[in-house]
């Protein structure tokens, strides 16, 4: 398979299926997630077995991708279920909120609402 100029199918990264000199990975092998990594002014595709912190994995027939968690979450299962909050936010039932429900208090150590 002769690589088209600038697009080499023999990718160095383990999970890459096709890649290009400028864009990095263009597609991933099955079960890998495509993560778009920002490095200064560059943004390249990287194929990973699991998404980095601050992102969650979404599988689809066409492509598995890493998507950024909500801005107030440090880590999450998906768009609507956070597992750890950013500073100033407190976790309650998968949501990161600035205040806790009545009867609960904010734990700065765990960034969670606790009884």
């Amino acid at each position: 398979h002769k690589p088209i100029s600038g697009v080499s199918s023999g990718c160095q990264q383990g999970g890459c299926l096709t890649c290009s000199d400028y864009n990095g990975c263009l597609s991933c092998k099955p079960r890998f997630f495509m993560h778009l990594e920002r490095i200064g002014m560059k943004q390249i595709g990287v194929c990973m077995t699991s998404c980095p912190p601050g992102f969650y994995g979404t599988r689809s027939p066409e492509r598995n991708t890493c998507t950024k968690c909500r801005s107030e979450c440090d880590s999450c299962f998906n768009k609507n279920f956070c597992t750890h909050c950013r500073a100033g936010f407190y976790l309650h039932l998968g949501k990161c909120q600035e205040n806790c429900p009545e009867g609960m208090v904010r734990s700065d150590a765990q960034r969670e609402c606790i009884l």
Binding site: I4, N23, G24, L36, G40, M41, T67, K68
Partner: protein, 155 residues
């Protein structure tokens, strides 16, 4: 009637050489009736990043998006929609390197009413820009309309 093709002058100055650095002058073609001036920091976007409006990084300063299109990457959206998405994400302008996507020009020439400049680059113009990106050399880009010389009127 066929819309005149307006060419773009793209002046690129490395931030580390500012303000005295002599700009690199390249050329491109405006599409979608979007000819106009724009200025900002050059920022590469992967073709797959313009597929959905997921909550991703917001750039602080004015920036100009450059995308190297790849015909091997399934267009998750029509190119005009990708251009609009890039502009919606805050880009002052969008530059598409179409060296590896022969059908891109035709798809984008038909478009109307793009709110800010969208420019296609090829050949050495594209290579110079993408080589800068590859070396992660932060650069400021100014896009202007290329003034074609007015031929004197002969009777």
């Amino acid at each position: 009637s066929e819309r005149p093709v307006l060419r773009a002058i793209i002046k690129v100055t490395l931030l580390k050489h500012e303000p005295t650095g002599k700009p690199l002058t390249l050329e491109g073609v405006f599409v979608g009736g979007s000819a106009g001036k724009a200025e900002g920091k050059l920022m590469q976007y992967h073709p797959l990043s313009l597929c959905n409006t997921s909550e991703d990084e917001r750039q602080e300063s004015d920036f100009i998006t450059i995308v190297k299109l790849e015909h091997r990457v399934h267009h998750c959206l029509p190119l005009p929609d990708k251009a609009r998405m890039a502009l919606d994400k805050g880009a002052q302008a969008v530059i598409f390197d179409i060296r590896n996507d022969a059908s891109a020009a035709a798809e984008l020439q038909e478009v109307d009413s793009l709110p800010r400049p969208v420019v296609l680059v090829e050949d050495n113009n594209a290579k110079e820009l993408m080589d800068l990106v590859n070396k992660n050399e932060e650069a400021k880009v100014v896009i202007e309309i290329k003034m074609e010389p007015k031929w004197p009127h002969y009777d």
